[in-house]
């Protein structure tokens, strides 16, 4: 079987990640002549089902009280059961925390192989080959998965959505589920860090600060700049590890992968691990006093200056554009 299964969470809606994930799934299925099945976990409204059915040949809605919110063990059991129904060649997930957590375990349960952070997936016979960054983004590897199915989480937002075609909408089914509550793991509480505006991954403009800021206070200056630009705030790992800003601001290999139209990096040296998180940005620019900072190698334009002399006047300038 050459079929492809894409795993979606209904609570995320049909966001850019879901569109990219289904786009990747559609192209993979078309390349092998297989069918694309979208499985949606959680309570899905008609709009989501319709959007998914416009791309997939079959949409399976797994709605059940135990799937209302993410639970690692219950979601894993459900995905295992749903994937086994069609014996797919590929099971694709997005790059959210939950998908990353589930992928290797799901592969193990299906007797397959997993790889993550895919920027490319291709079928070679009945096995998958996954292209991904390694060594903190310094190198690229093509990983040949030795078992089937290949369970791959992809850099979903960087993947193109499916082309609108003349395809008839896929069928929408409700999954028949016999689920037991997991006795071992309990989700005690969920906390969303207050952050205004759109999610970092969806942001079109980002202002980010790094180690060179030297403390939490300068982030307030950056925030004032971001505000006049209508930009979201982000930070390098060094700034998050120092506790200057919350971990959810972290961009990079192990933080968020962002793809804004403009990424303004201030006092960020640009280690390859950070670049891995911003490589899909359309325009990268930087302010750094070190002309040899690696960040400039990735910039469209840059300013070699001490940020302290620049950020205030730049904010004034941008709030009254000429």
């Amino acid at each position: 079987m050459q079929d492809v299964v894409c795993c979606l969470w209904s609570r995320a809606g049909f966001d850019r990640a879901a569109q990219g994930l289904l786009g990747a799934g559609r192209r993979l299925a078309d390349s092998t002549g297989g069918k694309l099945r979208a499985v949606v976990l959680g309570p899905a409204d008609d709009a989501l089902a319709r959007s998914a059915a416009a791309v997939a040949d079959l949409v399976v809605i797994a709605d059940h009280p135990l799937l209302d919110q993410y639970h690692p063990e219950t979601y894993l059991t459900t995905l295992t059961a749903l994937a086994k129904q069609s014996q797919p060649q590929a099971v694709l997930l997005g790059n959210d925390t939950y998908s990353q957590e589930l992928a290797p375990r799901l592969a193990h349960r299906l007797g397959g192989s997993s790889a993550g952070d895919a920027v490319g997936i291709a079928a070679a016979g009945d096995r998958l080959r996954v292209t991904r960054g390694v060594y903190g983004g310094k190198a690229t590897a093509v990983i040949a998965l030795a078992r089937s199915p290949g369970v791959v989480w992809v850099r979903a937002r960087a993947m193109a959505p499916a082309e609108p075609g003349a395809r008839a909408p896929g069928e929408v089914q409700k999954a028949q589920l016999d689920l037991q509550a997991d006795q071992r793991v309990k989700v005690v509480s969920r906390h969303v860090e207050a952050k205004e505006g759109v999610r970092l991954e969806e942001a079109r403009l980002i202002v980010a600060g790094g180690r060179g800021l030297g403390g939490p206070e300068p982030f307030q200056q950056l925030q004032a700049l971001a505000q006049v630009m209508g930009a979201q705030m982000a930070a390098s790992r060094a700034a998050c590890d120092a506790g200057w800003v919350p971990p959810s601001w972290q961009v990079g290999q192990t933080g968020k992968k962002v793809s804004p139209e403009l990424y303004l990096a201030i006092a960020i040296s640009g280690a390859s691990q950070h670049i891995m998180g911003i490589a899909d940005s359309k325009v990268i620019c930087a302010i750094n006093r070190d002309p040899d900072a690696p960040i400039f190698k990735h910039c469209r334009f840059g300013l070699v200056e001490d940020y302290q002399k620049v950020v205030g006047p730049l904010r004034d300038k941008l709030s009254h554009p000429t």
Binding site: P72, S113, D117, V192, R300
Partner: protein, 266 residues
Amino acid sequence: MHIVVCIKQILDPEIPARDFRVDSARREAERGSANLVANIFCENALETALQFREAHGGKITAVSCGPEGAEDVLRKALALKADDAVLIVNDAAGNPDPLFVARTLAAGIRKLGPFDVVMVGREAGDWGAGQTGGLLAEELGLPCVSFADSLEPGAAAGTVQVKRQTDSGWELLESTTPLVVTITNHEKNVPRIPKTRDVMQSYRKPLTRWSLAELDIDPATANAYYEVAELFIPRKETQCEFISGDTLEAKIDAFASRVTEVMRSL
């Protein structure tokens, strides 16, 4: 509480890109002048375990699977006062196979006897696969909580509360023990530095060595999960235009108009 912390030795990921080379034929990074270090997320894991032990008591065993030289990361763990250290010697160098590593670690952990929590780094700074924790949980038949940054005893006996990071914030999960936890970085688990004296003394502490044969692991079963088919350094050519100007103000003006230009095109 017995916490097992798995530690991987890797090529120093802080090596600058200009000094980094790969051997495309062997599909491995070249060692060059780079140091071998403990993976940072494994060090975050050890730090999390040490803080748990300081607050609630217990025992920490550090385990590594790797070549003889991986002893170094275990000596460092002993210098930081891990109670025991076990090296599972695997001399077959080169390409990674996460399932083989997970099976080997699982066999070693079972041989240790009863344990409550297994901690691993969320991913390694070399191949960055992020597979070991999940596969290890499946091999051991245990639940798994990923991207955790701290651990507390749970309300009921035989449980722990795990705080873990999500895309939008964090979650608190409670799990029965034993379980597998993958650890990510947080301002509270930045690894401590061992004292020189403790580093010296760590070399006098016992360190257990197990061979793959002792764990009934056949090295021929490696690479059954996946193989690295290609490894190369991508070519990138972005020419940075450095903003120039006679005065600071002129430079800021020029920079601002470049930013405005991009924003207007949206």
